[in-house]
């Protein structure tokens, strides 16, 4: 019987689980393959987060510090799990850094992989330097450099944000909606207008999914206060006339083709299943759901269960998730893991 809990992935979900366990006096081992903790918001340098407006480095950085300073959390960065054997209450994991971890339960908080825009060549990423992703724009803002055209560093006068890049697209086998990119795009659009008030920002959409309370704060506000223009069109191609990017598509509301010059085109990239998921599935003996994320055993019973007893899952590993929901799921997984230890003890 081992009381410690193994947490794989130190993003918002894993950090939340480790902190929750420490608060109830439980020891955990948190491992992350990256050299730093913090997950996507830190590793990819996000700027101000939806919906709090706090800088990622403060909000998520704070979660990292809290865990780093806690003696109940043993952290291994730059490490993955090589093998995982045993049964609930008594698992053994071999890490790539040579360490052996004994744990009564495990939480997989391995997150997602950013969609690689090279897979949609018609939208110009990789061909034209001024076609960038939302992640790059986040970095331009969070680094303090401001939003500029990578080709020559000029301030863009016209920016197009293309939604659903790498999501909702059967051509590339991705049927899911990545859930947060509409809101993130509206947020970035407002930040661009704040920094560059003379810059026109257009968002090309199929649907706007600024769900729940984000409707007011992001969709309505971006239109009403920041005059962001939303055009219902899925862009057909992005080309260049040598000086400007040329965006072509159909403005579906007026049944008319559009060909518009832009300085900067931003891909609102989606959240793919973690590229490691197949390896993770075989190492931990858990199943994937049809899109390739880690499958949850049930929706309403015990939260966060995978298809293997004693192994739990939280955050974007289960599908596109927001940070706050990932944190909530991290807490839920911690509680379920504790519960499973209690059950294992009772039967031991």
């Amino acid at each position: 019987m081992n009381d410690s809990i193994l947490i794989v992935g130190g993003g918002p979900a894993g950090l939340a689980a480790a902190h929750a366990l420490a608060r109830v006096g439980r020891h955990s081992v948190l491992i992350d393959k990256a050299e730093r903790l913090g997950g996507a918001p830190i590793l990819s340098g996000y700027a101000k987060l939806v919906p709090s407006g706090e800088w990622a480095k403060d909000a998520i950085g704070g979660m990292v510090e809290r865990v780093r300073g806690d003696s109940l959390v043993e952290v291994h960065t730059g490490a993955t799990v090589r093998s995982f054997d045993g049964s609930p209450g008594d698992f053994t994991a071999q890490l790539s850094d040579g360490a052996t971890v004994r744990a009564g339960a495990a939480i997989l908080a391995t997150g997602f992989t950013h969609f690689d825009s090279l897979n949609k060549p018609e939208w110009g990423f990789g061909t034209f330097p001024d076609v960038v992703t939302t992640t790059q724009v986040e970095q331009m803002i969070s680094s303090g450099r401001g939003v500029r055209c990578p080709s020559d560093g000029r301030k863009p006068q016209r920016v197009a944000i293309l939604l659903c890049v790498g999501s909702r697209d059967r051509q590339i086998g991705r049927e899911w909606c990545s859930k947060i990119c509409c809101t993130v795009s509206a947020n970035l659009a407002m930040e661009i207008r704040e920094e560059l008030p003379d810059c026109h920002v257009y968002i090309y959409y199929m649907d706007i999914r600024t769900f729940g309370l984000y409707e007011t704060k992001y969709y309505w506000r971006s239109q009403e206060e920041f005059k962001i223009k939303y055009i219902k069109a899925r862009i057909a191609e992005v080309t260049s006339d040598g000086t400007k990017l040329i965006v072509k598509g159909e403005d579906t509301l007026v049944k008319r083709p559009v060909t518009i010059p832009f300085d900067l085109v931003v891909h609102a990239i989606g959240m793919d299943p973690n590229l490691d998921n197949k390896t993770i599935a075989s190492t931990f003996g858990v199943e994937l759901e049809p899109h390739g994320y880690l499958a949850r055993r049930n929706t309403y019973g015990n939260m966060a269960e995978t298809t293997r007893a004693g192994v739990f899952v939280a955050g974007a590993a289960t599908g596109p998730e927001t940070i706050d929901d990932s944190i909530g799921q991290g807490h839920a997984a911690a509680l379920s893991a504790l519960g499973s230890l209690g059950a294992a003890k009772a039967t031991a």
Partner: protein, 255 residues
């Protein structure tokens, strides 16, 4: 771009060469007919701000194109080309040339405000229709609409006297829109008024028509209102990038 619907092909975009040989093949006449792409490059990005600067147009940028206004619209029910949702979009996106194709029907809005009461975003589409008509006039795309002339004649009376005299309003309106004063419906209305109105009221109507009294001590109020109206007109014209305001004296007759 593919052509989605035949109705989108406009005659002015059809091109035919009388004499044309391509790679040695004679494609003269209708064999060479092709449709010019309808790509529009002349976006007027100032258009939304311009319309927003005119009374009623303030909230145009809120529109999310749900179409509730057009569905509810009184005029649309009679004339499907009357489409407030569509025009709001054209203005927002700066598709000026496209809007001008409908310039002669925008003013037909009857201000029933059905659209206003159904709009989920509080765009005030009725006001926007007014602002767009106004914009078309100020930019010289359309002559003053009868509705606008009536508004002017009406407010002119109020400004000059602090009172309205209906007969005078109607006479001036007809004169300025080139309509005959002897209209069957008007004669009929006058007859019935005479027949049915109490004598006292008739006498007062007759008195106002003959004397056109002013509200007492009106001149200071009038000066203030005129100054305000002039300032508003100047602001509107400058928002539209037009120079000197058209002075009220040139558009209004003497009292």
């Amino acid at each position: 771009m593919p052509i989605h619907e035949k109705e989108l092909i406009r005659p002015e975009d059809l091109r035919t060469h009388e004499q044309l040989t391509v790679d040695g093949v004679d494609v003269s006449g209708h064999w060479s007919t092709f449709i010019r792409s309808r790509v529009v490059t002349d976006y007027n990005e100032a258009m939304q701000e311009e319309v927003a600067a005119l009374p009623g147009g303030e909230f145009i940028h809120r529109c999310w194109q749900c179409g509730s206004c057009t569905n509810a619209c009184t005029v649309n029910a009679v004339n499907p080309d009357f489409n407030p949702r569509f025009w709001i979009y054209l203005v927002r996106m700066g598709m000026e040339a496209e809007l001008l194709r409908d310039k002669d029907i925008v003013w037909q809005c009857v201000s029933c405000n059905k659209c206003t009461h159904i709009c989920p975003r509080d765009v005030n589409p009725e006001g926007v229709m007014k602002a767009i008509s106004h914009w078309l006039e100020l930019k010289g795309h359309t002559p003053k609409s009868p509705a606008m002339v009536f508004d002017e004649v009406f407010s002119d009376q109020v400004i000059r006297r602090g009172k309205i005299e209906d007969g005078r309003t109607i006479r001036r309106f007809f004169a300025r829109t080139g309509q005959a004063l002897q209209q069957d419906w008007l004669i009929e209305m006058a007859k019935r008024l005479v027949r049915h109105l109490p004598i006292g009221l008739l006498a007062r109507l007759g008195f106002s028509a003959a004397i056109a009294p002013r509200t007492r001590d009106w001149s200071r109020a009038r000066a203030a209102i005129e100054e305000y109206v002039q300032a508003e007109h100047a602001a509107q014209r400058s928002a539209l990038g037009l120079d000197a305001p058209d002075s009220p004296a040139t558009t209004r007759e003497g009292a």
